[in-house]
Structure formats: structure tokens, C-alpha cells
């Protein structure tokens, strides 16, 4: 039974308009949803200064801990703390069950797809996906053809972005199959929230996520090359100037493995070694946080100084596991994305649990015409980009921007897709001492080793600017803790 918002709760809602978008906390008539009620009551009871005090204490602790990301292109103050919101986003057990089932299904199919494409390419022969779409993909790696990867797992670590639409249903916006990041924020946000709302946390029965590093280590271990029972596992980082460097150090420390840079690695006779004070030590598994392009100057970009020369040959020889595998970006290409529901049906003979967002492929003439006529209503994205770069958000664009994109699309239609502007869900965020709604997405992290593991929760990213639909941290987004309830 929906209970009206008690008078004491009214005070916490500031300017809080409800519209067509799904609100995580309040139903259409403004009532607080059942599972958010305890949170709302706690907030109403807390003295104003209390939350601000927690917020300041947490900010300071993030800064001294150096939980920061790097803002490129400036000299002073290049390190910022990742903005975060003090209120958790709640997900019920039923909702989570569906997400978990849907992601497991989706990742299984995507992995089968990668294996298929890099071996027999049956799905192309059966004309489920057009051949030219795959072979024109910028992340397709010819070098991976016919290469056997351990356990046939190409994507050990995945972060898929989900949105919730007006009808309350979760849909997949994109899959990140290359080097998904953000998991350290999920873990550190949780630490802060536990300290801020200990009683609430306890009474809600929030499912734990703190074992993520152990699960990740277990996953990496399960992917070790044959005959290496005590594998030496390392995390390969581009270096301290990378925006996700904090995360790399954090994960390495939490897993107790070495954090290496390309310059620490050497290959000899197709075996990868790292330089240590003991001499050279063999490396068995590399959790790679360097893009394909920069991983091996002999095979990929020759001007890269971040990778290790000879790495790919050692990988091909089966002497070292690199995860995620090379060439996995093929499957998160935004045009290939449109075919994922068909992949699920093709490989698993199941209906997708989590639907896709409607996507127009601009390589198809009919769809292109429709898109060009409706640029003002649609979102156009470059297929190979991530992080919110190379995007046109129709309703928020100027006529010049639209003209410019129209030209770009005509010049290279394969490089773009279009989607309807989504009115995705909003969650309450704390501004001053009042709540205001902001758009949120959800990035759960999927680990794929001997089996698929998803820690209950993920990173909820928030578009902190009022009315904004962009949640990427590089574009003014923040995050909040995600509580999956028992």
C-alpha cells in the first residue's frame, strides 16, 4: 500500500519536479516508494549540519587518500576528487535478479560471438550480421584470427551501462568490453556510505560488494596458461598520468599483485618477464588496462611507448594470458551493439532478458534518411568512441552542430549510429540540505573466468548538472553508491 508522504518528509524535498522520467524514489503521484521510505525517514530526522559534516569529512578523506582522477590539459590542480552524492541508489532484490540474469545471458552471448568471429565466423556465413559491418570495424583485430584463448574467455572483465526507462524497465545502453573502469569508485563509495549511514545500512540488509578484488583475482587465476599452477598475475597500467591510475593502484594493492608498466616488461623466446630486484621473473597473467593500440608496438601502433614489444607473440604462443583479450572492442562497437539481441537468439536460442535501446544504423540508407530528417530529436554517436566523446545530443544541440554532424554522417555513415533521446530515470541527490532529482545510469561489473560473477551493485553514475543527460566523469558526471537489497 502506498502511503502518502508524511509531513516530516516534505521538508527534505526541495525543487523536486516529477515528470515523465521514472523517479527512483517517488512514484507518479509523489509518494515515496516503499523501499526508499526508511532512507527518507532517516534523512528527515538527521540535523541539517550532520550530512554536510559527513560530506566534508568524506571529501577530505578522498583527497588525502588521493582518490582522484586526472583532468587532462591543465597544469595546476590537475587532480580532482571524483564528485559523488551522499545518498545511495536502491535496487530491490527482484530488480537485481533480472539484471543479473540479463547480463549473464548477454555476456555469454557476446563472448560466444567474439570466439565465433575470430574462428569460423558462422554468424556471418548465416547472414545474421552483415560481413562488412564486422570487417569495417576499427576494433576488429585481424591478428586474433584462429588464436586459441584460455577457456575461450575473451572478456574477463566487463562493465555494461544500463538505463531505466519511463516504464521502469532496465535496458542496456552499451557494453564496455575493452578496459572498463570505475570499479574502484564503487568500492570506495561503499566505504564512505557505510560510515555515513551505519544503522540504515544494517537495517536495509545491503548485499556486500567488498569481495570484488578477491573475485577478480580468482577470475584472473582461472585464466592462467596451462601448466602454471602458481601463476604470477600482474596488472598492466599505462602509468601514473593515466586518468584511472588511482584505480589501477587500488586494485593491484587490494589483490596483492604487482602493478607493472610496459617498461617493466621484457620478452625473451616468447615468454614475458618483468624486471625485478631479484632478476627477471616470468609473468603468466596480465590484467591489461592499456588499450589494444598501445599494447605492443611490434603488432599494433608502432609509436606506442606504453606497451611491451613482443607481448602479442608471447600471447599467441600461449605463454601468457592477457585479459581482456585483444580485439574485444569489436563487440562493443555501437553499430554491432544493434545486433546483440540477434546474437543472443542465435547463440543461446533465448529471448533477451534485458532489451537494447532502439538503434538506427546509418549505413542503411532508409534509416539514415530518417535520422537526418530528425537530428533534433535523436542522439548521434560515433561507433568506436567511449567516455561521452564524439556525441550529438539532438535536443540540446545548435543548428550548426546538427549541420556539422549531418556532413560527418554523409561522409562516413558506418562511423555513426543514432538513438532516440532517452528519458532515463532520475534519483534524488543532495544539494545543500535538500533533495533534487538527477539522471542516473548503472554500470554493474561482470567477471568471467571459470564462471560468470556479478557483484550485486555497481557504479551508479549521476549527471550532476540540472537537466543534463551526460553521466561521464570526463563531462561533469559524478557517482553514488548502489545498494542492492536482500
Amino acid at each position: 500500500m502506498a502511503i502518502n508522504t508524511p509531513a516530516e518528509l516534505k521538508s527534505i524535498f526541495g525543487e523536486y519536479p516529477l515528470d515523465d522520467a521514472f523517479d527512483e524514489m517517488r512514484s507518479e503521484n509523489g509518494d515515496v516508494r516503499d523501499h526508499y521510505r526508511a532512507l527518507a525517514q532517516t534523512l528527515a530526522r538527521l540535523p541539517e549540519s550532520e550530512l554536510q559534516r559527513h560530506k566534508q569529512a568524506a571529501d577530505l578523506s578522498f583527497l588525502t587518500q588521493g582518490i582522484t582522477f586526472t583532468v587532462y590539459g591543465r597544469n595546476e590542480g590537475t587532480e580532482r576528487i571524483f564528485p559523488y552524492d551522499m545518498l545511495p541508489r536502491l535496487i530491490t532484490a527482484t530488480e537485481w535478479e533480472r539484471i543479473e540474469r540479463g547480463l549473464t545471458q548477454r555476456i555469454t552471448a557476446l563472448n560466444l560471438f567474439l570466439r565465433d568471429i575470430y574462428s569460423d565466423a558462422k554468424i556471418l556465413n548465416d547472414k545474421i550480421i552483415p560481413r562488412e559491418l564486422i570487417y569495417s570495424c576499427k576494433h576488429y583485430r585481424r591478428q586474433m584470427r584462429g588464436l586459441q584463448v584460455p577457456r575461450n574467455v575473451y572478456i574477463g572483465v566487463v562493465g555494461s551501462d544500463l538505463l531505466r526507462l519511463n516504464n521502469g524497465e532496465f535496458v542496456v545502453l552499451e557494453d564496455n568490453l575493452r578496459v572498463p573502469s570505475g570499479v574502484s569508485y564503487m568500492l570506495t563509495n561503499r566505504k564512505v556510505m557505510k560510515r555515513t549511514f551505519p544503522q540504515l545500512f544494517n537495517s536495509y540488509g545491503v548485499r556486500p560488494i567488498d569481495h570484488y578484488p578477491q573475485l577478480l583475482l580468482q577470475t584472473l587465476r582461472s585464466l592462467a596458461p596451462e601448466g602454471r599452477p602458481e601463476p604470477n598475475i600482474v596488472l598492466l597500467t599505462p602509468g601514473y598520468f593515466n586518468s584511472a591510475y588511482f584505480e589501477h593502484t587500488y586494485l593491484a594493492r587490494q589483490m596483492g599483485i604487482d602493478l607493472v608498466e610496459g617498461r617493466d616488461l621484457v620478452t625473451h623466446d616468447n615468454v614475458v618477464y618483468m624486471r625485478t630486484t631479484h632478476g627477471l621473473k616470468r609473468v603468466d597473467v596480465i590484467y591489461r588496462r592499456v588499450d589494444d593500440d598501445f599494447s605492443d608496438p611490434l603488432v599494433f601502433r608502432s609509436d606506442s611507448a606504453l606497451g611491451c614489444a613482443g607481448l602479442f607473440n608471447a600471447y599467441r604462443a600461449g605463454n601468457v594470458t592477457v585479459t581482456n583479450a585483444f580485439g574485444t572492442g569489436l563487440a562493443d562497437d555501437k553499430a554491432v551493439y544493434a545486433y546483440v539481441p540477434r546474437m543472443i537468439r542465435y547463440y543461446l536460442n533465448e529471448d533477451p532478458v534485458l532489451p537494447n535501446v532502439e538503434t538506427f544504423l546509418l549505413g542503411e540508407e532508409k534509416e539514415r534518411k530518417h535520422v537526418l530528417a530528425n537530428l533534433g530529436k535523436l542522439v548521434v554517436k560515433a561507433v568506436g568512441e567511449s567516455g561521452g566523446y564524439g556525441m550529438l545530443i539532438g535536443p540540446h544541440s545548435t543548428a550548426e552542430q546538427r549541420d556539422e554532424f549531418a556532413l560527418r554522417i554523409e561522409a562516413n555513415p558506418r562511423n555513426y549510429i543514432a538513438q532516440p533521446t532517452l528519458d532515463f530515470s532520475r534519483a534524488p541527490c543532495l544539494f545543500g540540505n535538500q533533495l533534487e532529482p538527477r539522471h542516473v545510469d548503472l554500470r554493474p561489473y561482470v567477471l568471467y573466468g571459470d564462471k560468470i560473477n556479478i557483484v550485486p551493485g555497481g557504479l551508479t553514475r549521476v549527471a550532476l548538472e540540472k537537466g543534463s543527460l551526460v553521466v561521464n566523469s570526463s563531462q561533469g558526471g559524478g557517482s553514488k553508491d548502489t545498494w542492492v537489497l536482500e
Binding site: 608498466e261 630486484t277 632478476g279 627477471l280
Partner: protein, 324 residues
């Protein structure tokens, strides 16, 4: 341990030590400038600059406070305290997974402190307070390092960095004072203490944070010979060169015991020679001989040890590693 990590820990530790030395020497210099009489401020400043290894960008401009401000805050100046702290933190940032969170947080906090507006405001009020803030931050860092860092190779490389930096810095400051304090010492038939030199000797001891320790050993009767003996040859005081070389020797041994590469003959012999030189010399011998040359050779040997450590543990050839 990864070679690059060992190298970063080594340099992190050196830079922390350097920041500490600079802060202390500057503090002593500034307080001695206030005293009436004695040496002119520009000479004092020049002496400080020489003790810091003669950086080029710190020419005296007549205003001691402005000079101090540059030496503390000028981030681009390689020898400024801020630059040392930045470099230490930059190295720490590259080995975050290797040091404890407590260590990182102390260092990171010191970094934010020295870059803060409060530090500038504090400077306006009292320069010494800023230096105390820096020193306190460093002592905290040293304290948590001692209390929280696992005693494996990383710890040894930090010790190597600290002791080499300290031995080198102490040898340098002794060289700077050599001429006026020690050179004429033997000629003046040893006993005639020049009273005017007393404050200088005390300043020298305080620059090496050794005044109180000296008094424990020799009482407050301060003679140039004893000061030199204390800072060079004492085996019990952490800032004496003999003690530092002892620390280097045991750190290298510990690295080997924990499975590090075999130290080459050259390295162990080099450390052993310097150790013996300090262990078996008497101060009379040193003073009677070429003191300046003696101090100079300590510095040269420190540089050589640094070079050999780098070549053996960090930048070795793959060929040699595969053979071994």
C-alpha cells in the same frame, strides 16, 4: 620487487630526506641571520646555497625573507622544499600499491599542506612555523613508515635512499665549513678555542640536528675537532656519516638475504671500503691530513655506490639476468 618500484621508493625516500635537510638548514640559517654581529647575511646565504649543492637559481637579492620564500615555495626550482615534496609524492604515487595507505596519506597531506593558502599565510606570520610544519609532516611520515611498512625489500630501498642522501648532505655541509672551522685547527695548536666560532659550530650541529646528541657525548664544550669527529665517525648517532654508511651496508645485505640479485664485488667492496675508512680513522689523522680531500672522497664514493645500486638492481642488462 619490481626494479622500477625499488627505484621509486629509493627516490621517494631521498626526496623526503632532502626536504628535511633543506628545511632544517634554512631554519638554522634564518635564525642565525637575526643574531647581531658575526657573518653578513649574504655570506650566510651563499654558504647555505653551497651546502645545498650549489643550485644556480638562488642568487642573493638582499632580502632574506624573499629568498626563504623562494627556497620553500618555488615549485619549479629543483632545490626548493616544495619541489622535493612534489617529487617525493610523485614517486610515491607511482608505487601506491607498495607503500602503506598511512604512508601515502601522510605524504599526500604534506603535499596539500605546502601547496595550501594556509602555508602562505603562515609564512607571512612566522617563517619558522612553516618549516616546523614541513618537518612535522616528515616526522609523521617517518613514524608511520616505521610502524606500518612491511620489512621487505621496499623498506631496504627506502633506507638506502635516506642514508645515501643524508651521508652526502652531511659531507657537503662539512665541506662548506671546512675552511674556516677545521683547516686552521691543527695549526693553532689545538687548544686555543676561538670563541667567535662557537655559534657557528652550534649552528653546524643544529643543521645536522645533532646539538643535543653532541652534548650527551662531549658535554657542551664545543671544539671543531670534536664536532667533526661526531658528525663523521660516531657510530651511534643516526646523522653521522659513519652511521649512515653502516645503514647502507646492512640494507644491501638485507636486500640480498631476501632474494635480491647478488651484489657485485664492486658494490660490496665499495661500501666496505668507505665503512672501514670511517670506522678505523681517528680524527687526529683526518685533521692532520687533507681534510677537504677526505670529505670530498666521501661524496665521490657515495655517488659511486648510488651508481652501482642503480646498475645492479634497476637497470641491469637482460643478458646478465638470463645468465644468472
Amino acid at each position: 620487487m619490481l626494479s622500477r618500484v625499488a627505484d621509486s621508493l629509493y627516490w621517494m625516500s631521498r626526496y623526503v630526506e632532502r626536504a628535511e635537510n633543506t628545511a632544517r638548514m634554512l631554519d638554522v640559517t634564518m635564525s642565525m641571520m637575526i643574531d647581531t654581529g658575526g657573518i653578513a647575511p649574504d655570506t650566510r646565504w651563499l654558504r647555505l646555497v653551497h651546502a645545498l649543492g650549489r643550485p644556480t637559481e638562488l642568487e642573493w637579492n638582499g632580502n632574506a625573507d624573499a629568498m626563504a620564500h623562494r627556497l620553500i615555495f618555488e615549485a619549479f626550482n629543483r632545490s626548493s622544499i616544495t619541489n622535493c615534496i612534489d617529487s617525493a609524492r610523485e614517486n610515491a604515487r607511482q608505487v601506491r600499491e607498495e607503500i602503506s595507505s598511512e604512508q601515502w596519506q601522510r605524504l599526500n597531506r604534506l603535499y596539500h599542506q605546502i601547496h595550501s593558502l594556509e602555508a602562505q599565510q603562515l609564512f607571512e606570520v612566522n617563517i619558522s612555523d612553516v618549516l616546523t610544519m614541513v618537518l612535522d609532516g616528515i616526522y609523521l611520515f617517518d613514524g608511520v613508515s616505521d610502524g606500518t611498512m612491511i620489512r621487505r625489500q621496499g623498506c631496504q630501498f627506502m633506507r638506502l635512499g635516506r642514508y645515501l642522501e643524508r651521508a652526502y648532505a652531511t659531507a657537503t655541509i662539512l665541506e662548506v665549513h671546512q675552511k674556516e672551522l677545521f683547516d686552521s685547527y691543527m695549526d693553532e695548536a689545538a687548544n686555543e678555542l676561538s670563541i667567535s666560532n662557537q655559534p657557528e659550530l652550534v649552528g653546524l650541529l643544529r643543521s645536522c640536528t645533532s646539538f643535543e646528541a653532541y652534548c650527551h657525548v662531549y658535554t657542551a664544550e664545543i671544539t671543531p675537532g670534536r664536532v667533526l669527529e661526531f658528525l663523521l665517525l660516531n657510530s651511534e648517532f643516526p646523522h653521522s656519516i659513519h652511521y649512515c654508511i653502516d645503514g647502507i651496508r646492512s640494507a644491501i645485505e638485507a636486500v640480498q638475504l631476501t632474494g635480491g640479485r647478488q651484489a657485485p664485488e664492486q658494490l660490496t667492496a665499495g661500501i666496505g671500503r668507505l665503512h672501514a675508512m670511517l670506522g678505523y680513522s681517528t680524527i687526529e689523522e683526518i685533521l692532520r691530513g687533507d681534510t677537504l680531500n677526505f670529505l670530498n672522497s666521501i661524496r665521490k664514493q657515495c655517488l659511486q655506490i648510488h651508481e652501482l645500486i642503480y646498475r645492479n638492481y634497476v637497470h641491469y642488462s637482460i643478458q646478465s639476468a638470463l645468465a644468472g
